[in-house]
């Protein structure tokens, strides 16, 4: 870390990390939202054994979502060190208790989502099993909601003390 800080200022380094965290969040948000919408759309019965599922190939980017989710969680865990000392303490001093509480819940929400990733990956493996249609749908929706919640709460925390605040 000292080598990095000899090249760029410490706060600039953390702001770059936060910006990368934001870019990953937007990518993940887009992918998981599209997939959640795809699984929630009603399937239309077509001719023969084919079922028209959705206009987006939901299964094809399940692995990508799992990988980005893990990367994003690792990135968040790294930035969390700075948050804990540099952001949360003044947040408490200025009595922004709802923001602190929402961020605490975000940690748990993201963790629960991470625990579901192996099952999520399994349910989206080809060929898709009709037996797991329901659980696949709701696990995907759970992940989408967790990413949305994390994004919104992270955005509020960033507005308190982060990039551009």
């Amino acid at each position: 870390m000292n080598i990095i800080f000899s090249i760029i200022r410490e706060d600039t380094f953390w702001k770059i990390l936060l910006f990368v965290h934001f870019l990953l969040a937007v990518s993940l948000l887009a992918a998981v939202t599209l997939q959640a919408v795809a699984v929630l759309m009603p399937a239309r019965q077509m001719a023969g054994n084919f079922i028209d599922r959705s206009p987006v190939p939901a299964a094809s980017y399940a692995a990508l979502i799992a990988v980005v989710y893990v990367l994003q969680a690792l990135m968040g865990a790294w930035i969390y060190i700075k948050y804990r000392t540099y952001v949360r303490i003044p947040m408490e001093q200025l009595r922004h208790f709802w923001t602190v509480g929402s961020f605490e819940l975000k940690e748990h929400v993201v963790t629960m989502g991470m625990g579901l990733l192996p099952a999520y990956w399994y349910f989206w493996r080809q060929p898709l099993s009709a037996e797991h249609d329901g659980v696949r749908r709701w696990v995907t929706v759970f992940l989408a909601l967790s990413v949305w919640y994390a994004f919104l709460v992270g955005h509020v925390a960033n507005d308190f003390r982060g990039v551009g605040s």
Binding site: A77, L116, P127
Partner: protein, 200 residues
């Protein structure tokens, strides 16, 4: 997009035990399914338990950059337990999921019902005992305010529920635990944040 759905591949295949010879791709897939689903359930359950009991595998001190084994008090700056809870829950859930791939499917479904019911009954029994001590007891019942006393009705209740739950129901709801446990865990964890942050 059009795709064929593999209707024939039933959930019961997760249970199928190998016949003879080398494991086929179906058996490998069934085992990976058992592993992934059990990991998801166990991770959510154990993470909630470890967070509530505050059992981190290690404590990180961000100001000093130190990592100490198990739970450590605040030194210079705040201690961070979150990493410790996650790692401990992940390691424990990994072990549980590995064991799950070795035991018969029926046992696994029963064990899942048992663990999930126990996770609900134990804190409920403790809360019930505390309400009894404060509002109902006409004698000094403080000795009842113990997790180990609460464990007795919790284990009895869990054993009864597990015994009476039909095997077919246990099998049918098994994957549903994947959503019930994390949502239940988040309710518990969210409730624990009410007093310190949201109702402050």
């Amino acid at each position: 997009m059009t795709q064929t759905l593999d209707v024939g591949e039933g959930f019961s295949r997760l249970d199928s035990s190998p016949a003879t010879g080398a494991p086929t791709s179906t058996q490998t897939r069934a085992k990976s399914g058992t592993f992934a689903i059990t990991f998801g359930i166990a991770f959510a359950l154990l993470y909630t338990v470890y967070e509530r009991l505050n059992w981190p595998l290690f404590t990180y001190h961000p100001v000093l950059g130190n990592l100490d084994f198990w739970r450590q008090p605040a030194g210079v700056g705040p201690p961070m337990f979150w990493y410790g809870w996650i790692v401990l829950a992940a390691v424990s859930a990994f072990v549980v999921a590995c064991i799950a791939t070795l035991i018969p499917g029926q046992w696994l479904r029963r064990a899942t019902v048992f663990c999930c019911a126990l996770a609900a009954f134990w804190p409920a029994a403790l809360t019930g005992l505390r309400i009894f001590i404060v509002d109902w007891a006409t004698f000094d019942a403080d000795f009842l305010n113990s997790v180990w006393v609460a464990a007795i009705p919790a284990f009895v209740g869990t054993a009864v529920v597990t015994y009476y739950v039909p095997a077919r129901l246990a099998e049918r709801v098994w994957t549903s635990w994947l959503l019930i446990v994390p949502i239940g865990g988040l309710v518990v964890l969210g409730y624990s944040l009410l007093q310190p942050w949201f109702l402050r």
